[in-house]
C-alpha cells in the first residue's frame, strides 16, 4: 500500500514539475518587420528596436505598472525576428515556416502583407497579432479567430485630419492630394476625400496625384499642385517619398501657398526637423511620438528608447510596443482566469474585447468582433521654435469620434457623415 502511495506522490510531483518547467520555458514570439528595403529605415528598424527593448525590459520586470510582472506572468519571452521584405507571396511562405517555430506571431507593416497573412494565420490556427498595417479591410471584409490588430486602422488618421483641418480652417473650399499609387495611398485619399466631402458638402477636388511608390522625384506633381489653386493638399506619403516631397516642395512654396496635411508625417519629424515648414498639419497614425499623452508608461518608453538608441521612438516603435504589451495583458488575463500556463485558445479568449494600457494611452479591442483596436487620436501643427521642430495646437479626438462603430464599414460610415 505504501508503495502505491509513494508511486502516486511521485507521479504527482512529476506532473507538477513538468507544469513548472513549461511555465519557465520561454514563450517564443515570431516578430516580422522590415529589416531591409525602403520601409526599414522609417518603420521596420524602429519597430524592431521597440520589440527588442521592450522584450528585454519585460523579461527583467522593468516595465512600469500595470505591466511590471516579469515576462508574461512570470514566463520569459523570446523573440525570433525575420525580415518583412519581399512582398506578400514571400511573406506567406515565411509565415508558414515561422508558425512552426514559434508560439505567437507579431508583425507586419505593409497592408498588402497583412491582407495576405490573415487568412493563412486562420488556416494554420496560429495566434497572430498585426501591429502596424493600416488598411481597415482586414476586419471589415472578414472575421478571424486567430488574428488580432493592436494598432488602429488608417481610417482614423484621415478622419482626424479632415476634422482638424476644417476646425482650424473653416473656409477651405478645395482640396488636392498627392499619394502613393498602391493600397495605402489610395485608401488614405479615398477616406480623406470622403471625410472632407461629408464634413463640408460641396468641397471641390482640384487634382489627385497618385505617384509610383518610391518615385523620389515630384517636380511635375508639385507644379500641378501649385497650379491647382487648391486650398489644402493632403498626402499620406511615408519614408523617402515623404522626405523628398518636403525637400522639393518647401523651396517652391508648396507649404506656404497651401495648407498641407501629412497624415503619416510623424516619422519625418526626427529626420527632417526644421525643414518641415511651419503650419504643416502632421499626424502620427495614433497618439504616438510627440502626440502621446504624458503618463508613466510613455515617459518610461521614451526615456528607455532614447537612452538605448540615441533617438526618440517614432510611431512604428510605439505600435510594436503596444502589440507586445497587449499580448502580455491577454496572457496575464488568461492566467487570472485560472490557467497558470494559458494555451492559445485561452489567450485568444482573453484577448477578445480586451482593454489595456499602451504606451500611447488606452487600447481597446473594440472592433472586428473584439479583434481590432481603437485608440484616441491626436494631430497637430508643425512649428519651429529655436531651431527645433515642435508640435503646437495639438488636438485629441476620442476614439468614437474618429472610428466607425462596430459592424459598420469605414467607407460607409464616413459617407454617412461620421455619425456616432
Amino acid at each position: 500500500m505504501n508503495r502505491i502511495i509513494h508511486a502516486a506522490l511521485l507521479a504527482c510531483a512529476c506532473v507538477l514539475a513538468a507544469g513548472a518547467a513549461l511555465a519557465q520555458q520561454p514563450l517564443r514570439i515570431g516578430v516580422v518587420t522590415f529589416l531591409s528595403g525602403p520601409a526599414a529605415g522609417p518603420f521596420g528598424v524602429p519597430a524592431r528596436n521597440g520589440f527588442e527593448l521592450v522584450a528585454e525590459m519585460t523579461n527583467a520586470g522593468q516595465v512600469p505598472a500595470p505591466h511590471n510582472t516579469k515576462g508574461f506572468g512570470g514566463r520569459p519571452i523570446e523573440l525570433v525576428i525575420i525580415d518583412e521584405a519581399g512582398g506578400p507571396q514571400k511573406q506567406v511562405a515565411e509565415f508558414r515556416n515561422l508558425a512552426q517555430r514559434v508560439d505567437v506571431v507579431i508583425g507586419y507593416i505593409s497592408s498588402g502583407d497583412c491582407l495576405a497573412i490573415a487568412p493563412v494565420a486562420e488556416e494554420l490556427r496560429k495566434l497572430t497579432v498585426l501591429f502596424d498595417c493600416g488598411t481597415p479591410r482586414i476586419f471589415e471584409d472578414a472575421t478571424y479567430k486567430y488574428v488580432f490588430r493592436t494598432g488602429p486602422s488608417g481610417t482614423m488618421d484621415n478622419v482626424s485630419a479632415a476634422l482638424y483641418a476644417l476646425e482650424r480652417n473653416p473656409n477651405i473650399r478645395s482640396i488636392a492630394g498627392i499619394n502613393q499609387n498602391y493600397a495605402w495611398g489610395q485608401d488614405s485619399w479615398t477616406d480623406f476625400e470622403a471625410a472632407m466631402k461629408a464634413l463640408k458638402p460641396g468641397i471641390e477636388v482640384k487634382t489627385s496625384q497618385m505617384t509610383k511608390l518610391f518615385a523620389g522625384q515630384f517636380g511635375a506633381e508639385i507644379s500641378t499642385l501649385l497650379s491647382s489653386g487648391a486650398d489644402l493638399v493632403h498626402s499620406s506619403f511615408w519614408g523617402g517619398d515623404l522626405e523628398g516631397l518636403v525637400l522639393q516642395g518647401a523651396p517652391r512654396g508648396l507649404f506656404q501657398k497651401h495648407l498641407v496635411v501629412l497624415s503619416a508625417g510623424e516619422p519625418a519629424i526626427n529626420r527632417l526637423g526644421a525643414r518641415i515648414p511651419d503650419g504643416t498639419i502632421i499626424g502620427a497614425r495614433g497618439p504616438f511620438g510627440p502626440f502621446a499623452p504624458d503618463n508613466d508608461l510613455n515617459r518610461w518608453f521614451k526615456n528607455a528608447f532614447q537612452e538605448r538608441y540615441a533617438l526618440p521612438p517614432n510611431y512604428a516603435a510605439y505600435k510594436a510596443t503596444n502589440a507586445l504589451l497587449g499580448l502580455k495583458a491577454a496572457y496575464e488575463k488568461a492566467q487570472k482566469a485560472g490557467a497558470a500556463t494559458p494555451n492559445q485558445d485561452q489567450i485568444i479568449a482573453a484577448f477578445e474585447n480586451l482593454s489595456f494600457d499602451g504606451v500611447g494611452g488606452q487600447v481597446r479591442m473594440a472592433l472586428g468582433k473584439g479583434h481590432q483596436a481603437v485608440m484616441d487620436n491626436a494631430i497637430g501643427t508643425a512649428k519651429t521654435v529655436g531651431g527645433q521642430l515642435t508640435i503646437v495646437d495639438l488636438k485629441r479626438y476620442p476614439a468614437e469620434r474618429v472610428n466607425p462603430p462596430e459592424g459598420l464599414k469605414s467607407e460607409a460610415w464616413i459617407k454617412s457623415g461620421l455619425k456616432k
Binding site: 529589416l35 529605415g41 496625384q209 523617402g240 529626420r271
Partner: protein, 298 residues
Amino acid sequence: MSNFAAVVFDGVVYSSWLFLMAAGLTLIYGVMRILNIAHGSLYALGAYTAASLGGAWIAAGYAPAGSFAMLALAVLLVGAVMGPLIERGLLKWMYGKDEIVLLLVTYAVFLILEDAIKLVWGVESKLFSEPYALPGNFAIGALVYPVYNLVLIAVAVVTGLALSWALYYTRQGKLLLAVIHDREMSAAMGINVDRVYLATFTLGAMLAGLGGALTAPMIAVSPGIGVEVIVLSFAVVVVGGLGSLGGAALGALMVGLARSVAVRYWPEGELFIIYFVMALVLIARPKGLFSAPEARKI
C-alpha cells in the same frame, strides 16, 4: 501659356535626369553588348557617396558652395573605383559568353552592391539638400522653380554634347565607334579592344555616378533607389535604340515630356504613359528609333 511652359520645363528637367542615366547604359551596351543592370547600383552609389561627402563637408563648417565640388568628387570616385573594379575584376573574364549570361552577371553585381550599400550606409535615408536650395529660385509665370533644375539641364546638355564630340571628332572616339561597328574587325586592325572596354565601362559608371550625385540633393537617398532608375533607363534606351547616344537623348525627351503631360492632365495615366510610349515606338520600330544597322558578316 505659363501652364504649358511649366509642363514643358518639368518634362525637360525629368528628361535631363533620364538622359544622364540612359547615356551610360546605352554607351556600355553599344560598345560591350552588355545590358548593365548594375547601372542602377552605380547610380545609388553616386547618390550615397555624394550625400556622405557633401554631408561631411557641410558638417565640417566649410562654405556650402563647396558642396558642389563634393558632388564632382563623388562622380570621380564612383567612376574611377567601381568602373575598373567591375570591368577588370569580373566582366573581363566573361567576354565572349552569351549576352544573357552577361546580363545575369551584372544582375548579380546589382544584388551584391545593393546589400553592400546597406552594410555601409545602413537603412536610414541620407539627406543632403544644401546644393538644391543654395542657387536660389526663379519663376515661370506663377510657378517657382529651384535654379538647381537649370544646373541639371545644363549638365545633361553639356554631357551629351561632350560625348558626341568625343565620339565623332576625336581619335579615341572614332576607335570606339569602330569597336561598336565591328569589334572583331577592330581587333584585327590593331585596336586595343580590351582598353576600349575598360574606358567605356569606366565612363559609363561615371555617368551613372553623375546621375546619382546630381539627384542626391533633391531626394532622400535611401535603399532601393537604384531599382527604379534601371527600369526607367532601360525604357528610355529601348525607345531610343540600344547603343545610340542620340536615341537616348530623344528617348529621354519623349518619355520625360509624356510623363509631365500625363501628370498635369491625366494623373491616373502617369504610371502607364512611359511604357505606352515605349510600346508605341517598338510597334513602329522594333529596334528603337535610332538603332544602328548591324554589320553584315560573311
